[in-house]
Symmetry: D2
Subunit: 144 residues, 4 copies
């Protein structure tokens, strides 16, 4: 049950931070934010992060990626109606894949981390396009 590394729990490690609203729908029968709601919140943060650095899917662009792996570590129970703050950055960059790492905080304490691995589809080529790699390099985590 290893805890995430300390730099993963510090929002200063991540290049992008934004605030997200919770919804009544996010609550489970115990009155906490449901596990699946964390996944939906991290997804919205990841989409915003991707849009933020300016490369969107275009019909004429053969570059496509899919999520290969998503891991959430739950550190504390979340509540409604308080907002959550999600920080996001790029982790490992491989030949055909890259990681998007995120931290969720509520009321100033970390409540979850998320590690997503994205992978180029086979039809998109053998290596990440150089311009895309350059873009995501600028959004790297700061490991302190």
């Amino acid at each position: 049950m290893p805890r995430p590394a300390p730099y993963r729990l510090d929002s200063a490690s991540y290049p992008v931070t934004a605030t997200y609203q919770t919804r009544f729908q996010d609550l489970d029968t115990m009155g906490h934010l449901n596990n699946v709601a964390y996944a939906a919140l991290f997804e919205s943060a990841r989409i915003a992060f991707n849009h933020g650095f300016g490369r969107r899917a275009r019909a004429d662009d053969p570059f496509r990626a899919v999520m290969a792996r998503n891991e959430i570590n739950y550190l504390a129970e979340g509540t409604y109606p308080e907002d959550v703050v999600i920080s996001t950055g790029i982790g490992r960059i491989g030949t055909r894949s890259w990681e998007i790492l995120a931290l969720m905080e509520q009321g100033g304490r970390p409540i979850a981390t998320c590690d997503s691995t994205l992978v180029m589809t086979a039809s998109a080529g053998d290596t990440l396009p150089a311009d895309f790699r350059a873009l995501i390099e600028t959004m790297r985590m700061r490991e302190g």
Copy 2:
């Protein structure tokens, strides 16, 4: 990007298998089952698995557990309105934690695996209750 071990992709490794309906809500803008929908489907399978072996949360029972970690490996895109088949079993059992492992198939091919780590809450004691450990031992994965 290691693929899950072969036994993880074989439903015969899991003691429980059940069929789950997909919903129109599960679709994303690409017309595939959304990543978060996989999480919701695995959750329903996990709840059913837990109910199946007969120990539910009771108000007078100090034993409580929370999800500490949830990892989904996405192997192929899922479609609607086809059902998914989810197989579930117990993985590693620790002093205060245990794993629930699952496989999602659609149309006979594996489309995702899910590894969940559950952990006893601090107030619930130092080790898993013996009766609970005995129950989950009966639901172990068969690693072949």
Copy 3:
């Protein structure tokens, strides 16, 4: 607070009936099926109903419709993990619009009704296509 008319609470009034699974995600903090979950379940039933009579959206078909109105009457609290049974049929047919009416039952008792009004988009013409109107006429409610 008028109750739905008696024929609306009788599944025999509807030409199509199917069973839908509930999910753990559907529960609210009171342990009942959440109001929004009813909407998602009725949506899946409506999509299945539409697919059942054989006219899907096609890229070359200018006929498009959107939902203009959706009304749910909540008659009793729903539970998980029991299935719900949803019955669906066509109500009023207008010049450019039509109603899809539905009943949700659980454990043999009605728990909700849903009235949806669909409307042709402006670009799709002035009246419902004759073949479409003929199709939906075959799926009318039986008002007994």
Copy 4:
């Protein structure tokens, strides 16, 4: 297909207005906010509205209410990631029931209205508690 009355499309008619984030999860396969997502957004606005005037459910308070009816009128397609603005007020007040009315706007144009009817549970008495009625009277719609 009557449109909502003009005062219903004017946020100045409603005593409370707040901004809500949309989520990637809210999108359907057409790239618009899904019908069910509107219901989830209106629900969060309704919960916030209820909390705002200070009467929450308490374990020692026999007053309970349930939603009896929820009607959404869809006026235009919604988009992501733009926020929506939801305005909320009290409509008709009956002996044992009351209406919560809402308007959703995006980019300054109305995209949906929602009419919810709440009803006291039978065990909660024959008429709305006087203090509750007085509270909701202060949150009435302004019909202009």
